[in-house]
Symmetry: C2
Subunit: 548 residues, 2 copies
């Protein structure tokens, strides 16, 4: 019999460090632009990014960072945050991006759960830091002087830290490809938020897949604008991919308003921009309002024709895709979640649609899309078997692949999140058509997506029902032109009790909800309809109120 | 201290089986076209490819194929060969592509060295099989009835084998991502050919990198024409990538002559074609000859404008790139070898060259290119240290990465092939410029050492081929009593063109060559002999002229 045979390939691990070295040597002259709090633009070259990132890594090691230690970031999208993306793993650490839009209580709890040792924070976010500082003690707080002001003496100055380190003498922490590089908490639809921990391997694989021509089609000659926050699933992985290919990056900093984004797009035209539908909606409205002669901002902006935009985080309305198509801007819809790195499906112009009508193409573009390479996807029906690809039969989307999480930090693989054969249960309900386009019919029922951020209806209901005047409360999503969705609370008062919307708002604020999480509207009703199994029948409530 | 932390990502292996399942479900309706020996076109859908491939895998398991067993192929580029690419690994086997252009003795030796158990062979190649059959006994010879004729009774009929197997009941052989999928022998410039064994992992990673927008820019809407034989480093990996994205594939079958390729390109226009420079040279000559009114084949062909072609396997003359640019066809040069899967560098339009002149862009395009992601590359000088990226200092190209071989089958990692720190020694001599463009001065053996100075035969060839009278040129070293070696140029003139040695000397001097670098002698010949891989066969030229 023949001898057994082995692959002769080198056992070289996938590594972010390889991407950083590429950037420093091959793309030294390419540009990284960051908008500062005062709206001025700061320009870097990849050469500086490379040296500063290595200096950061050397400095972190000098501070005693050890393999696997977590370094939290509380930052907007800018060049220093990019340095953390590569510098923290280069030193052997794990970058943990804190979501600055959560309540201070949540941020503090998450930092504690992750056992973050250090924190890198924008100076402009120090007021937020002070609100949760008592909940978790970081060994060291490193302040990035984003505004240009002097860093308070009780903190470590990010720039001084880098200035005191020698990038030339830095040596990468040894690692395997499964070692962690970054950590991000889910929005916690049920129970506490849970940590997803990405590896060198998952991050490099996700970068390669995202860059494919049918998706981002990323080239070295591109200029990318990551509007998606760097604390949301690593800005969907775009910063890693841009560094891999030496692509120009334009960071919006803290200025995410439509006017600010239009100013930035006019000044530094991107070829690819990532964002959520609500931002793109307000942006196109602002742009079109400016077109009328004599309108405010008339003539101020130029849309980057030929630009492509991957939009996700919530369903993308067909009207939005058509609105941008008028200006030669291609909206590609993607679907995914923190657990999926996040790209799991993309709706792109399939070969089969080449002869299709505009209507047909736009219809497909408004679907969640087709599974990307390396992602296995199935629609599991209630009966526990896979649904046919008929565009009709619905079930839960379940996914599996090398950049999809198989557990949660410190929690393991709970049964409500993973199947017995180790697929991720996404909680989203969908059908899939014969061309593989996923159509999400009923997004995770108990969630409200407002401006790209999740609001848990369960959490609001529980808090409302803790109010002495409330018998029952059900919170549903209602469509909102600006934010996509907003919460509406249906409240059943206890007999002979009274309470106003203002009282509920104060009550919820006292429970730690921040302003944008508060219900938009209250409906006082006699009873909440129930399903046969006794659960709140939210579908009925939506029928009754969502159109109002 | 914080607890240690682990990535939470799923341990899902990279796998060709995943690509096959994608193709069968997502791309069922897309097309695979194969040209038969009688030049008719056979059309398949991916759905058939998927079912036939699973049937092949089931049949191989039925024949007793065990994990790691080698199945050789002796086939042209066609759909059944593609089925072997995926079906053999799906069954747990290793596809070993035999190079039909080698001598029967070499093929037999290689089959023996690989211990091939089974053979899949085109019926039109049975005469070749009979010439080496005595050197290695295959347990079973499976004949693909490519010509349509009945398969001789002593062999297994490929179609009957598939017809007797049930694709629906097939189950993939369990595997890890480092398990072998394919095997290819190097051309063995020194000593015996040596086997390189690719894995699921290396093949998937190479596919992702090749598909990137700066390189193949492969989309589902593309149509690819792999002219590069499927027995040459897996047709440079293109078949795997095409299946991953559901791209239409046009296989040329056994017809590789320029007229045949032009016919095929006219009938089934590709958007991407891979091949070696010599084929593209004769193809553009044939096409341009047909343009003259009244010329043979006038009006017969349409070049696929907008097509892209990755050309490699030998240096690509600037004149070739310019010739195709006239017809809006972009030639991208790549460099690599069997050991590197093979893409290691690609010359693509870098961001830095966006404002450059045509001359500058064409000059860069004629270089070997920039290392692709996941490939580390260094130029090691004689002193054993890395050369600076100055475009001047030469040394050996050494590479490292997850799709580069770290050893050879049954041979290990000999010192002349691998450095002490486990980089591959390619044997090619090059410099690298500040933008990372590798310029290959020569294969070590093709350098001409004249009076203690190196002369690059590649530079002389490229300059000569830029002369309007020259169709092809190959430069070799001839022994010289005074200088050690001197360059001799073998020139093939274009039809109805003339040029003298004096004119060439003036032409080269104008290109910047100094006197001692000029060819000592010119030989005007009818054709330059080719190796089995289509490269200039300089050894033959040396035998013919070096003694004169």
């Amino acid at each position: 019999m023949p001898d057994s045979i082995h692959s002769t390939m080198m056992p070289v691990p996938l590594s972010l460090n390889h991407l950083l070295e590429r950037a420093g040597t091959l793309f030294a002259g390419n540009e990284i632009v960051s908008r500062a709090p005062d709206k001025s633009l700061r320009r870097h070259r990849y050469k500086e990014f490379y040296r500063r990132t290595r200096a950061l890594a050397a400095a972190l090691q000098g501070l005693g960072l050890k393999k696997g230690d977590r370094v939290a970031t509380l930052c907007w999208n800018h060049h220093a945050h990019l340095e953390c993306y590569f510098g923290i793993p280069a030193a052997g650490g794990v970058m943990h991006t804190l979501n600055l839009r959560l309540s201070p209580e949540e941020i503090g709890w998450i930092a504690g759960d992750a056992e973050d040792r250090f924190l890198v924070v924008d100076d402009v976010l120090l007021p937020l830091y002070h609100q949760f500082a008592k909940l978790h003690r970081f060994e060291r707080v490193i302040v990035f002087p984003f505004s240009g002001a002097a860093v308070p003496a009780e903190f470590t100055d990010y720039e001084a830290l880098l200035g005191g380190a020698d990038p030339d003498r830095f040596e990468y922490a040894p690692h395997g490809e499964d070692d962690p590089v970054a950590m991000c908490y889910t929005s916690g639809t049920t129970g506490r938020p849970k940590g997803v921990v990405y590896s060198h391997r998952s991050t490099v694989l996700h970068s390669l897949v995202g860059c494919l021509a049918d998706f981002w089609c990323l080239r070295g000659t591109d200029a990318v604008l990551p509007v998606t926050p760097m604390f949301h699933a690593n800005s969907w992985g775009l910063p890693y991919a841009a560094v891999m290919l030496g692509t120009k990056i334009v960071f919006p900093g803290p200025h995410m308003h439509p006017e600010d984004l239009l100013d930035l797009m006019t000044q530094e035209p991107p070829t690819l921009a990532l964002g959520v539908p609500t931002i793109w909606m307000t942006l196109i409205q602002a742009y079109e309002a400016s077109l009328a002669p004599g309108a405010p901002n008339h003539g101020r902006w130029t849309l980057p024709r030929g630009m492509k935009s991957l939009v996700g985080g919530a369903a993308v309305p067909e009207s939005l895709i058509r609105a941008f198509a008028k200006y030669d801007i291609l909206i590609l819809q993607g679907w995914g979640m923190t657990e999926t790195s996040p790209l799991a499906t993309v709706s792109y112009p399939r070969a089969e649609l080449q002869g299709a009508s505009d209507d047909e193409r736009f219809r497909r573009a408004s679907l969640a899309g087709v599974p990307v390479p390396l992602v296995d996807l199935r629609i599991r029906g209630d009966a526990g078997s896979d649904q046919p690809w008929d565009g009709q039969s619905v079930g839960e989307i379940q996914v599996r692949g090398p950049f999809i999480t198989g557990s949660y930090h410190g929690v393991g693989s709970p049964e409500d999140k993973f199947t017995a054969d180790q697929w991720l249960r996404t909680g989203d309900v969908a059908s899939i058509d014969p061309l593989g386009f996923v159509k999400i019919s009923d997004r995770t029922k108990d969630l409200i997506k407002s401006g790209g951020e999740w609001i848990s209806s369960v959490d609001l209901e529980n808090a409302l029902m803790a109010h002495p005047a409330v018998a029952e409360a059900a919170v549903i999503a209602i469509p909102d032109a600006k934010w996509g969705e907003r919460p509406l609370a249906c409240v059943v008062l206890r007999p002979e009790h009274k309470a106003s919307a203002e009282e509920f708002a104060a009550h919820l604020a006292a429970k730690g909800f921040v302003k944008w999480q508060l219900p938009e509207r209250y409906e006082f009703i006699a009873a909440i309809p129930r399903t046969s199994t006794g659960k709140f029948w939210k579908m009925k409530l939506r029928e009754q109120f969502a159109g109002a």
